[in-house]
Structure formats: C-alpha cells, structure tokens
Symmetry: C2
Subunit: 255 residues, 2 copies
Amino acid sequence: MTHLSQDHTDLASQSEIRCATCFLRQSGFCGALLDARSRLPIRQDSRTTGAGETICFEGDPSEYVCILCHGWAVRSKQIADGRRQILSVLLPGEMFSSMMIFEENISFSVQAVTDVLVTRFNRADVKSALMIGPAVLHAVADVCITELREADQLLICLGRCNAEERMARFFLSLSRRLNSHRVNHHQRRHRFPLRQQDLADIMGLTPIHINRVIGRFRRAKYIEMSSGYLTIINKAALERICRCQFKDRGLAKIL
Amino acid sequence: MTHLSQDHTDLASQSEIRCATCFLRQSGFCGALLDARSRLPIRQDSRTTGAGETICFEGDPSEYVCILCHGWAVRSKQIADGRRQILSVLLPGEMFSSMMIFEENISFSVQAVTDVLVTRFNRADVKSALMIGPAVLHAVADVCITELREADQLLICLGRCNAEERMARFFLSLSRRLNSHRVNHHQRRHRFPLRQQDLADIMGLTPIHINRVIGRFRRAKYIEMSSGYLTIINKAALERICRCQFKDRGLAKIL
DNA sequence: CGTACGGTTGAGTCGCGTCAAGCATGGTGG
DNA sequence: CCACCATGCTTGACGCGACTCAACCGTACG
C-alpha cells in the first residue's frame, strides 16, 4: 500500500482502501492501471463522501481520474433555473467519465446518492500510463466506448420514447448492469437507493409523473419497489414494452 | 497519392480525392494520421454517396474509420416502428464517431443529407498508429471528448428543454460549428440542407411542431430560412432564449 | 400535365406538467 | 413519551405543450 498518499482530509480507513484496491483490480481499467504500476508510479488515494453531497462541481479543475468503489452516485448537468439532467448513474467499479482522463476541467457534477467511497488516480500519471503499452490504452478505449454507447441509448430514449418505455428500459438496463457485478447473474431483487426525483432527472420527466408510471407498473405486477429495494417481477412484460421497438437483434445487445 | 487504393466501385474522381486529402490535413485527427504515414502505412480510400442514401447501417461490421470530407450527413439510430433519433449532425472534416476506431460493428446508421464525399481509413492501421506516438493518440482523445461533450449537451437539451429552447440551442451551436470551419468567423448566412423531418429527429419532436416553432422564430425576425439557406438575424434573441438557463459561464463554452 | 416531396396551417386530442393537498416515515428535542 | 419537523411518496384537478389527422400549397421533375 505504499502508493497510497494520505495527505487529504476525509480519508477512508485502511481497511476500506484495501477493499477498494482489491475490488478495483477486477475492473478492466483499474486492473490494467494497477498492473502498469510495475513500470510507472501512479499516485492514488481514496476518500468517502456522505449521501447527498456533491463530489465534483461542474467547471471545476480536477487533477484526478475518479473511480466509484462503493455506493451509488449520479453524474449530472444543471441549468441555472434549477433544472437538472442526470447523464449517467454510476455503480461501483465505474469511472465517473472518461473525459476525466483528458480534460483539465470537468463539464459535469457528480453527486453521491448513498455514502460512497471514491478512489482517485493522478490524471497526469494515468495519461503517461497510456503510452507504456496497449493494455491501459485498450482499457480506456473500452470505458470510452461504453460511455458513448450508453449516451446514444439515453438519447434515443429521451428523444423518442414515452414515459413507460423510458422506465421499462431503465429498469431492465439497470438490472442488467447490477447483475453483471455479482456472482448470481439472475438476481431479481436489487438495492435501489435512487429517489423518484432522481429517476425524473434521468428520464427527463417530473417526479409526479414518475410516480404514476411506477404506480401503474406496480399495479400490473411488473415490479415492486419499497424501502430502498427494487424487484423485477415480470421482466418479460417490461421487455414487451420496449421490444416492439427494436429492430432485429435481441434486447441484451441494446440495453 | 500512392496510398489511395481504388479497387472499390463508386470512387470519387482524382481531383476530389486530392481536395479531400488536402482538406483533411487541416483537421487534428487526420493531420496527425497523415503525418504518421511516414512511419507506418495507413490504407485509405474515398467514395461519394448521393443525397438521401445510407452510408453505414446499424449493426454492420466495418473495417473503416470514416471521415466526412464534403457535404452533410447525420448519424442516427432507429427503433423498429420507424421512430428515428439523430445522434449527431456530421459536418465536413468530422469523423462519423470515435467508436469506429475501436468497434468491429457499428451501433448506428449514417445517412447522407447532401451528396457527400467520405474518406475511409483502414481501422487496423489507425489502431496501430495510436501506439507510435502521442500525436495520434491525443487527436483521437480530442475527437472522443468532443463527442462525449456534445452527447451530454444533447441529453440535457432533450431531457430538460422545451421546443423553442431546443431549436435556439441547435441553431446557435450549429452556426458556431459552421463558422469555426471558415475564414470568416462571423458569417450569419449558412448553407442548410436539413429538412424539417431531420430537425424533428434531432430534437425529438414532430416535423409539424418544428415547423410551428420555425414559424414563430421567423415572424419574430430571429432567423430566416429558405431554399436551403439559414440566416441568423437576431443572435442575441436566440441566446436570450437559452441564456436564462446557463449557470455563470458564457454560451461559448456550452454550445 | 401529373406526380412526388416537403413545407404550411388548422382543429382536436392526449401525455405530461403544474399546483396543491394529504400521508408515511424517521429524526430531534422537550 | 409525544409534539414537531423535514423529507419523500401518493393522489386529484386542471392546463398546456406537443402530437395526430387532415387538407392545402409551392416547387421540382419526368
């Protein structure tokens, strides 16, 4: 653990950091990066943030590439009159955005939904690591492409889908992402800390309308939502809401 | 011109290709790539496509990285019932998407709006060029970041702006992009080949509603649109429609 | 001259937003 | 222990922005 600098306030405990590093190694980007340390020092630290707090502010300079190690967060942009659009939901193991590797100022905010643990790599070090071999480069390309694809998905969702379609797609895609993190790939019940206001800001709707759609889904026994948990009861029905839309290929490739 | 392979049908004339290569050198990515050819062969060809035709189909494999050299095109995705969302408007000098560098199958379609000239680099060659020095890498990072930022912009637009705000933002941002290509940076009159149906598919609205908003803008003397040309008459007014929204920093950074 | 395509305009409808009130929960302090 | 409050969820009434359907117009083209 000699690479961990602890000069900042609010540092996570050693055990949390150890857990974080161990966890990070599983993800493509961080694995490649940590491997690269044999040839190049890469400074890194970890810090916790409480639920509801803002981790990064839009426009601020940042010398870090941030990875969410524990908890949920959202990446968003705001317009002055208060309207907020969430650009992505961040789950454990994910980079805030690949833009953080190349840009000095970040163009978005990140807010903690639950208590979170964030690991930060020194941006200059990461950039240097890009040139020492193809592993890091490919890992970064992967992150970048995933981000672009998700953005395209969300765009078509906001531009051309109604409220029910948006919700159905969101639930399915989220469930899929959550399951890809775990051993059990067919979990139907998930921790779900997002508030209806957050859902509204993801889907470009109002929380009241979100509530009504959820109500419909609940009454139709498609899902269950209570006390911070989401259960997908009738996955097929949700897929039916979206499926009519998609060309030929299966949902798996699209969501 | 020894690098140009002409084994494909529908090839552009020699003069067009020369023009294209000359033009490409001005753009960061292509400039870096063409410079890299001193150390590495990079196969390349050019081809024309007629207005309205589809250049790439969603899901198709592609061994090329495509650059639009002349004309306008749109990158889009479709859902089975015919609904289409345009993800980006492609102007001369722009790569279709940075995803083309890393992905074997493309996840979008590209359609020619006008007659276009497209230069295609061999994807494997481009990937190899990434490792020979930082120039190409940085150029690619630039393309990638620009794309991510534009996607975020469009997301907030679709998620949180009404029709007038979307149109105003689109016109301003497009005018800005068009002017950045030319010597005269303050041109107010632009070639504008997009149909109202295209505008609708960009902004997630119907062409009829687009028509009404344009009508309002026209009557308010904000813009003029006729016979394939767009003129921004009252830029300040358009900015006012968006400005109220933006935090502190000026429009320039945002649009 | 007919056809096709895209733009324009009107009437009516509906999805979603707005406003407003009520409810459940959990934390706090007296 | 219970008032008190803050936060987030739920529900109803109503209005508006955007969609749908439909007709008409102008231009380009064979």
